[in-house]
Assembly symmetry: D2
Homo-oligomer: 450 residues x 4
Amino acid sequence: MREAIFATPEMAAVFSDEAFVQRLLDVEAALARAQARAGMIPPSAAEVIGRRCRADLFDLPALFREAAEAGTPVIPLVRRLTELVDAGARGYVHWGATTQDIVDTAVMLQMREGLDLLTARLLALAAVGASLAERHRRTPMAGRTMLQHAVPITFGLKAARWLALTVRLVRRLRRARGEALAVQLGGAAGTLAAMGPSGLRVLEGLAAELGLAVPELPWHAERDRVIEVASLLGMTAAAMGKIAGDLMLLGQTEVGEVSAGAESAGGRSSTMPQKRNPVEAITASAAARLAVAAVPAVLAGAVQEHERAAGGWQAEWEAVPRLFRLTASAVAWTHRALSHLEVHPERMRDNLQAAGGMIMAEALTMALAEKIGREEAYRLVQQLADRAAAAGTGLRQAAEADDRIRGILPPPALARALEVSNYLGSAETFIDRALAAYREIQETGPGQRS
Amino acid sequence: MREAIFATPEMAAVFSDEAFVQRLLDVEAALARAQARAGMIPPSAAEVIGRRCRADLFDLPALFREAAEAGTPVIPLVRRLTELVDAGARGYVHWGATTQDIVDTAVMLQMREGLDLLTARLLALAAVGASLAERHRRTPMAGRTMLQHAVPITFGLKAARWLALTVRLVRRLRRARGEALAVQLGGAAGTLAAMGPSGLRVLEGLAAELGLAVPELPWHAERDRVIEVASLLGMTAAAMGKIAGDLMLLGQTEVGEVSAGAESAGGRSSTMPQKRNPVEAITASAAARLAVAAVPAVLAGAVQEHERAAGGWQAEWEAVPRLFRLTASAVAWTHRALSHLEVHPERMRDNLQAAGGMIMAEALTMALAEKIGREEAYRLVQQLADRAAAAGTGLRQAAEADDRIRGILPPPALARALEVSNYLGSAETFIDRALAAYREIQETGPGQRS
Amino acid sequence: MREAIFATPEMAAVFSDEAFVQRLLDVEAALARAQARAGMIPPSAAEVIGRRCRADLFDLPALFREAAEAGTPVIPLVRRLTELVDAGARGYVHWGATTQDIVDTAVMLQMREGLDLLTARLLALAAVGASLAERHRRTPMAGRTMLQHAVPITFGLKAARWLALTVRLVRRLRRARGEALAVQLGGAAGTLAAMGPSGLRVLEGLAAELGLAVPELPWHAERDRVIEVASLLGMTAAAMGKIAGDLMLLGQTEVGEVSAGAESAGGRSSTMPQKRNPVEAITASAAARLAVAAVPAVLAGAVQEHERAAGGWQAEWEAVPRLFRLTASAVAWTHRALSHLEVHPERMRDNLQAAGGMIMAEALTMALAEKIGREEAYRLVQQLADRAAAAGTGLRQAAEADDRIRGILPPPALARALEVSNYLGSAETFIDRALAAYREIQETGPGQRS
Amino acid sequence: MREAIFATPEMAAVFSDEAFVQRLLDVEAALARAQARAGMIPPSAAEVIGRRCRADLFDLPALFREAAEAGTPVIPLVRRLTELVDAGARGYVHWGATTQDIVDTAVMLQMREGLDLLTARLLALAAVGASLAERHRRTPMAGRTMLQHAVPITFGLKAARWLALTVRLVRRLRRARGEALAVQLGGAAGTLAAMGPSGLRVLEGLAAELGLAVPELPWHAERDRVIEVASLLGMTAAAMGKIAGDLMLLGQTEVGEVSAGAESAGGRSSTMPQKRNPVEAITASAAARLAVAAVPAVLAGAVQEHERAAGGWQAEWEAVPRLFRLTASAVAWTHRALSHLEVHPERMRDNLQAAGGMIMAEALTMALAEKIGREEAYRLVQQLADRAAAAGTGLRQAAEADDRIRGILPPPALARALEVSNYLGSAETFIDRALAAYREIQETGPGQRS
């Protein structure tokens, strides 16, 4: 239950024990084919092995029990696979490979699927972000820095920043999919000695079979490729935490600029009948925290001993699948939260007037600065703001009542200076740039690699 | 499979979804009883509710699906429980509580069980450590610092240090069990307003029902108690990593002072017939790394908002059970590794002669220092050691051939100075102290609280 | 500059290089005295060594350079100390100790000072919290859960929860000061062989000299004591993050229930004249994040090899002082922020009316539940709340207009049910309990150990 | 002292407070120039501002004090800079920028320098690795997996794996230097409103001035670029931990295949005259642990609020410079350790015979497998190995004495099968591939970007 909250069904399926076994078998089958093509083993043996490399031919519960007891999945798997093939092929199963070759390569295949799932969902998230950016390109709201009103922005700009972030994530995940995923094949200690002179040919053949990159040499104890992917997942999760966090802050009772929407999950309180908790954003935030906190295990585990490690690598078995599940969960809950979002432009407009409309103080300063210089203008408006705050009046009222300011900015100029829509700067330009970046990654198509 | 490697069945059971539901129901039942005793609800209602608080009366798969969808387990559970009780009791289910009251208190109950399981296994580990410390109190071996020979120790002393560490962990876990586990009850925002004037009585009653401590006030967003337990688990896991690491280092092919033993799990290589990997110690080390890396999520998640949190608390649902599972796994694999250990005293003795017996250089220095002062002695032995290393002879041989040294230490004195058993200092005293500490925690009994 | 932001001057002084050298010398001097008392070295030698163990007698910059080059501070220090004492004492400097004995014991002394500084500042923070809890025990405000209004609380209750948390931290830090700080003395590999039969007496004597606990045996590679302190610091920092976070959330422009106060640091914007950033709370939050994130390095580093470690221990040299500095910074900034806080009870009262006063929905439900049962009451109020929200009217108005509700609760009863001060439950009881806990730790006095 | 151990002087200089102030001033000057070119401010003002943007014109200690008190460096700096320029330029200082624009862009400039320093030192490390790979391409040694002998490798292959890892790091750092470093400019809340219609032109102009990338839009609260760099530093540190760890393991007293070399730092013990600790590798390992553990603070801090953050960003001020210092330290100590390494091929050869030469078991299996199939061969050799181990004889001796094996492999064939140099597989091919990759990154030259 708790684990189902923090994974998507699709990602859980990619990293399930059953799928893992199938991936291990896929690698064994591809290895046999590559060895047959390299002339190392008879083609008929490869063919037989390939036909038996189907998880449904195995007693999986028994295999899992044995693996848990043995502390490793491959040894019992290879034994059972060997029993499944006929005598002629038996001697060619797993030829010259070490368990880590099979596991690492299988995990690379899982990671590829995992990256594709993440990318697809991020593209869906980007689509929602793009739509919000476009629709609200002129919806003014308070820009907030250090949790205080700063100057006005538009909700479209906020969405455009989420969008641009998401677009950059997609670009990075696509690149990692193309570059970071390499086949692992080194045999017992990375020499491929058991394959005689055919080692490199088999390595290249296996990579070709599986569509993975050919490494310069085996990398059993050099985990930079795994770190690269794990770091990107952590970055992705942190981005989801940022977006989900904004949604929760905007949805606070006193702010009320967005709300969770009728279609959104859960959210009713067990005791307070009026309450609608932003459960999707909250769960996104929780998943994002967990995913972010799951990266260090991979990073710290990457300090590995000699040719193959004693502990750090084994820890990856649990850490990497979990990181994918958690990140997928963070992306999915964020996507749901954003898709179901109700936006309240009128509330945004009202909030711009909160605290006496002080949010226009910089705008007023800039208007004055053209006449009296920035320094003097800053001082003048600061005094004005302090006075207005003390008196409990608004900035506009205080400015209109101030002789000095009236002397510099006559009423129509003052009104122009205090009009929010006149002080949005490059917001639309920035929105357009984010939308253009989004179109660029779209053109390569959701399922495609850029 | 991978998750079964990194948990014990017992700890997995304590933190299973099924057990969690039962614990939630236990809290609901105890709450009703406490409210009945406080006169808040009719005793008959408490009685009916209590009878329905059995997980086997619920359609768990449906409940889990709904909980995953809703992002929280308690709301669907309370609805179903309400449906199960008769009309007279219906209105009294979950009276005045908030979901977090139920979840936090249920988790406290799970943590108590978890701490008991850990303590029991640590006591079993301590028993093995004590037996090794006793049996090998005079088995000399090389003391190693910065991965270099330093001066001789005994294997008993090494085991006594593992033992003393384990004893300290048991003491801390027992204390935490007694002090850190408090009931949670505050209602919607920590005032217990829905319980009218009976709030404190119900809080105390609930604590008494469940054997948990009464907090000063609700602590929904102050997670120090959870951090306290999580930190101890991390400390426990780090200790296991230390012990398992020593076992792996001692078992290296060139060192060979311990080996994995015939009863130990797995360890055969898929490709190298001679190999016996120390799988138990390796898996202990992997589990320990994962557990250590699981603490920060709890710690960072403890920065929570206002009266009840949006994200940090929800993350605990996954983080805390996982931390217990991983720590239990680390302790269990370490215990297995230590129980199955084969110790090779002869190899320890041989290794003391490695590198020319240079390990006795400090002993020689101290013997000389009595005559010529420590500074001069140090210089003399350093030169001797350098000379012996360059010549490829041993320290003894070089010392015997050195006129100056012979002048200070005649042959019998030199022999005495170079005899390992004469240079073990307080090793036995320390072993005795560790054993005494162990006996002290034993007297309270494995299942008892100290 | 950036480092000065994230430390207090006092804590920086405790962990400065200069103070560290003095602490190392303190340990060398105490060791000599303990050895003299044990009859191992001449009293006159101990006396001479003691007189030279003053950092101002050393060329510190040269020492620091040499230490940085050598990767360790003690070896050059001992050489220089040896040069400083006369010939008669020279041979007795650092007798039988290893560098780690000196460093670990010196760090224990620093940690004791550090814990005292933290405790004193936490007591100051508790005093502010207690004063707020007392003063605002009847100041109503919105209780917020998942960043949404839940039910009313008082600001005094919120402060009481901060207070109770702070009190628990003080208790834990005091206990750790008394129990976790132990002397380190084992010589080269933990046998104290170089001290002959006097080992244990010297160990006990050194502990007595320095007021530290006597461990069962040396603990060079078993770092549970260091983890214990580090975990408490992380817990302390997380608590500060929680308090500072609440202050920032309460100070948001739309919430405005607290503000940073005229005496508080910084906070003016470089560009927005009206802005007062809550710089103290922000910096507290930043320091807390850094401190929380500094714990795992200590925890992960605790997996150490054999009798003395190669890497993990050395990492502590940087990690532990930094953790103390960051935690001190988090506590100090939180204390400043809370001390300078301006509280706006009228704004709290206004906000209770935000969102149509829906915060009283649970109160209304409970009032109805007495008549029609909780289930039915919940349904009724949920419909009412939804209707009121859709109509944009308040809860009170909707309730008054609802025939069914009027039938159950006549106007005076309805008014009572919707009166905030009638729905604060056990808030004052809880405040009193927190204040009592505070008085209890106070009685032992700021500088005393409980 | 302790901080000097964990930084290089060069990297400490790049991230010193003084250098930071200069970088802040560089950004202010470039901003003025870009604004002048965009026609926003008079060229003469930009010229005057540019001339005053020199750190040596400022009272730095006073500035640092004020910054620490204010919790931010830019506000006092801008005030002082404003005082330094004449009246005509005064109003144009820091025009339309927010403090975070200046800080983030200055940090980007520091990160560029930092990446260049790291890249240069990694290239130096790669050069040593390449030389070792080449020189020892046929130096056989034991390949070790899970800390046990596996099959033979060469020391050249081990070095080639370190080399290939280092080469991949250089490639990634160069790419990040080119892509991840973007200018920050958004004004108060990311709209550049204070720059009127010139916003985008100034943004592009500033980027051109400083040689940084133009982002789609401001990224104050979207820290993916910072995470990208931080992740790479963590990956780099983990790689150093791996290399340093191998050196320490190879240098253990019983293994003795490498040693620290006469030129290496420190290493003498304060009490054991014979001891030479591998201080450089140990310190590399310690620095690597600290650096790896420093990444999560950046990652977790990246969940930031709204348009500019309250806490997470401020934490970066300390976290990012420290991460650069620690990583530089890890690389430098690893480089020193590897440069000073003494390699002992004879000891490598001896160790291949440890444990009865069992390391050739797989080779023997493969030789037998050609005749009797792999399965049968595996079983045969496993029995042989067990028998040899029980009898305490070597594998060769046991094989020669075994009738069955003699029947399959006549003496010359058996001798061939057990000859290490016949069982090195693709080791040389892999070395060549690593060297080729190294030459490829070299061609772009140490100071150049690829």
